[in-house]
């Protein structure tokens, strides 16, 4: 998951960035509205966190321009004042949720997960596809009710695939959404990770949860459970 944070308060930005990275998100940061606006226009984001009180350009304006440009990723706004007028204005400009400063990072993470889940069309915190279930809150994967041990990278990959279950995702899209700017983007790594996930989720090779479409990418092909 690729997240952009626009926040001018350096300590807060650092704290949130560190915690998001710890959770396995690829994080882009901006301390000014203009930089953030550009990043949001150019990068394939899964979500953005925008502080409303930015020095050079109001956060609301950044959000408005993104939406005017047709950018659809979910946006969470941070506001220091907590006035309903500000919240409503932010939501009307195109944000999807708000958080009043100061906040607990856990709350921010929970809101963020919910937003990303919603864009994939999921309404539950547990993504249920046949025997495979992924609990976004607990970051746990189960196969037919039994917990499956996965590494952080494997989890990230599986989460992205399951969030967009049923749609084909290219390797480029996967690397763009899963990796930091400076990380190694060798596509062999992806193939290795997909191979490992297949072995863990489908030990007897009957389920085939992740299919490879030659030249197009991958697709999580198990049907979503109702709900």
């Amino acid at each position: 998951m690729r997240i952009l944070i626009i926040e001018d308060e350096a300590p807060l930005l650092e704290r949130v960035t560190a915690q998001l990275r710890e959770q396995g998100y690829a994080v882009d940061t901006a301390a000014e509205g203009r930089t953030g606006l550009y990043l949001g226009q150019e990068y394939p984001l899964d979500a953005a966190i925008v502080d409303l009180g930015l020095p050079d350009m109001p956060g609301i304006e950044v959000i408005r321009r993104w939406r005017a440009d047709g950018r659809k990723f979910p946006i969470l706004i941070l506001t220091a004042r907590g006035r309903w007028q500000d919240k409503v204005e932010g939501l009307e400009a195109g944000a999807d949720d708000y958080l009043v400063k100061p906040f607990y990072t856990e709350e921010l993470l929970a809101r963020l997960r919910a937003l990303i889940r919603r864009t994939g069309g999921w309404t539950q915190t547990v993504l249920d596809c046949g025997p495979v279930a992924l609990d976004i809150g607990a970051q746990q994967v189960t196969l037919a009710g039994q917990p499956v041990e996965v590494t952080a990278y494997e989890y990230k990959l599986l989460e992205y695939l399951m969030l967009h279950a049923g749609t084909v995702i290219s390797k480029t899209e996967l690397t763009e959404h899963l990796y930091q700017e400076d990380e190694d983007r060798d596509s062999n790594v992806l193939e290795v990770l997909v191979g490992r996930l297949r072995r863990k989720l489908d030990p007897d090779r009957t389920l085939n949860p992740i299919e490879t479409l030659r030249g197009r990418g991958y697709r999580f092909r198990l049907e979503r459970a109702a709900g």
């Binding site: 907590g82 309903w84 409503v88 939501l91 999807d96």
Partner: protein, 455 residues
């Protein structure tokens, strides 16, 4: 120009100067014309007088006697001159006053009975008025000859008269201008005095010597002073509220600080200290949030336009629908298009937003927001009601919820200060009441009664 008196003085001076200047010019012109006409009349009389003494000699020539009826014709350089020309332009007679000089050539001989009059300059540089009169003289029976009689007078007299007239004319006009301007200045001072009084009284209000502007102002100023008074009163209430809020804030921060200090002094274990710190920091945070929101309230605005409630309710519900998107709540509003609120938009948003947000947190499927106008003793009121189909609020819990910073359910995300903020807004800022009860949907129903004037 930054002052009324300055502007009025300049405008009036320009108008006065233009008016009096024009008057002066016209009078000057009229005087010149009449003075010239008088000169012309006088010269005409002289011509007739000369004609009266004309004689014809033996050679049928025109002659004039040595002793003329007007002595000035005989006195050299007297300023009054005359000559006579025949039809071919030869001078047949000149008055002795000319003494070797000649009148400037003017005009050519014309038809009998013609008169011509013009100011001219003589060869010596004297300014003259010259009148020429042509006659047909019967020198012998049935023998007529054309003669032109010319009479000239220097302009000394005329110019003297003109300048003395001008001196007194412009003198009087200037004096009149001065008097008019002075009078106008006095009128200005007198009629602008109430404005200076307003300024003085405002200064007194600033320095605290006075609470309000006095009321005996001219009709034109009454709306201004009344509005100023309203603003002053509003400012005072605000100030009082800020003062109270600041006091409340300081007091409410004292308790958590005391708890922390106690924990430190009593040698609590690191784990206990940590726990105390977490609790008290959260408490302080809630206090600050609560006071912040309270301080932002503006209150009823006496000069405000009525604010329609329906669109605002719609905006709040649309925003909440977005925030609670995954819970698929049905959010309804029952507000007539004419229902209005007489206060700050932010305040109403705060009330509606907090109540509706709370309702959304607790609701199972439904939230309804209603608002309708009411009246109490002729004063406009607005009733706002928010209802949900959640578990409801037990009567014994209601007072707890309204307490500052109380959180009904710590597990539901968000700050539990919403209801307390609404209570403060409703009861302290809008002189109203907040009631918590059960509604028809089975859940909580919160009703706020907002008033726009103190009782």
């Amino acid at each position: 120009m930054h002052s009324f008196s300055g502007r009025l003085l300049i405008a009036a001076s320009v108008v006065l100067a233009a008016f009096l200047g024009l008057t002066g010019l016209i009078l000057d012109r009229a005087f010149q014309d009449s003075a010239r006409a008088a000169v012309q009349d006088r010269l005409q009389v002289q011509v007739y007088m000369l004609l009266g003494v004309v004689d014809v000699d033996a050679f049928n020539r025109l002659t004039l006697p040595k002793a003329l009826p007007e002595a000035r014709f005989s006195t050299p350089d007297s300023g009054l001159y005359a000559d006579v020309m025949d039809a071919s332009g030869h001078l047949v007679w000149r008055s002795p006053s000319l003494l070797g000089r000649a009148l400037p050539f003017f005009p050519a001989v014309r038809n009998p009975g013609d008169t011509q009059f013009a100011p001219l300059e003589s060869a010596e540089g004297d300014l003259l008025f010259l009148l020429a009169f042509t006659v047909s003289w019967e020198v012998a029976p049935n023998q007529y000859q054309l003669y032109t009689f010319r009479v000239a007078e220097t302009q000394w007299n005329y110019l003297d008269q003109l300048w003395s007239f001008r001196r007194s004319l412009w003198g009087w006009l200037l004096a009149a201008t001065g008097v008019l301007l002075a009078v106008q200045g006095l009128i200005l001072r007198w009629s602008l005095r109430p404005l200076r009084r307003v300024a003085a009284e405002v200064t007194e209000i600033e320095s605290g010597q006075r609470l309000e502007l006095s009321s005996n102002y001219p009709d034109e100023l009454q709306p201004l002073t009344a509005n100023l008074n309203t603003l002053v009163r509003q400012g005072r209430t605000l100030l009082e509220r800020y003062r109270n809020a600041l006091g409340d804030l300081a007091h409410s921060l004292k308790t958590p600080l005391a708890v922390l200090r106690n924990a430190l002094e009593n040698g609590a274990s690191p784990e206990e200290l940590r726990q105390a710190l977490i609790e008290q920091v959260e408490r302080m945070n809630r206090t600050v949030d609560y006071q912040l929101q309270r301080a932002a309230a503006s209150g009823p605005i006496a000069l405000s336009v009525p604010l329609p409630v329906a669109p605002l309710t719609r905006r709040i519900l649309d925003s909440l629908a977005k925030v609670y998107a995954e819970r698929a709540l049905s959010l309804h509003s029952e507000v007539a298009a004419t229902t209005a609120f007489y206060g700050d938009e932010g305040d109403l948003m705060e009330i509606l937003g907090n109540l509706a947000d709370n309702a959304c947190k607790w609701a199972r499927r439904q939230v309804v927001v209603r608002a309708w106008p009411a009246e109490d003793d002729g004063r406009a009121e607005l009733i706002v009601e928010v209802e949900d189909d959640g578990p409801g609020i037990p009567a014994e819990q209601a007072p707890l919820l309204l307490n500052r910073g109380q959180r009904a359910d710590p597990m539901v995300a968000g700050h539990g200060i919403g209801l307390a903020v609404v209570r403060d807004l409703v009861e302290e800022v809008y002189y109203g009441r907040l009631e918590i009860g059960y509604g028809a949907l089975g859940g909580a129903k919160v009703r706020a009664r907002l008033r726009f004037q103190a009782r």
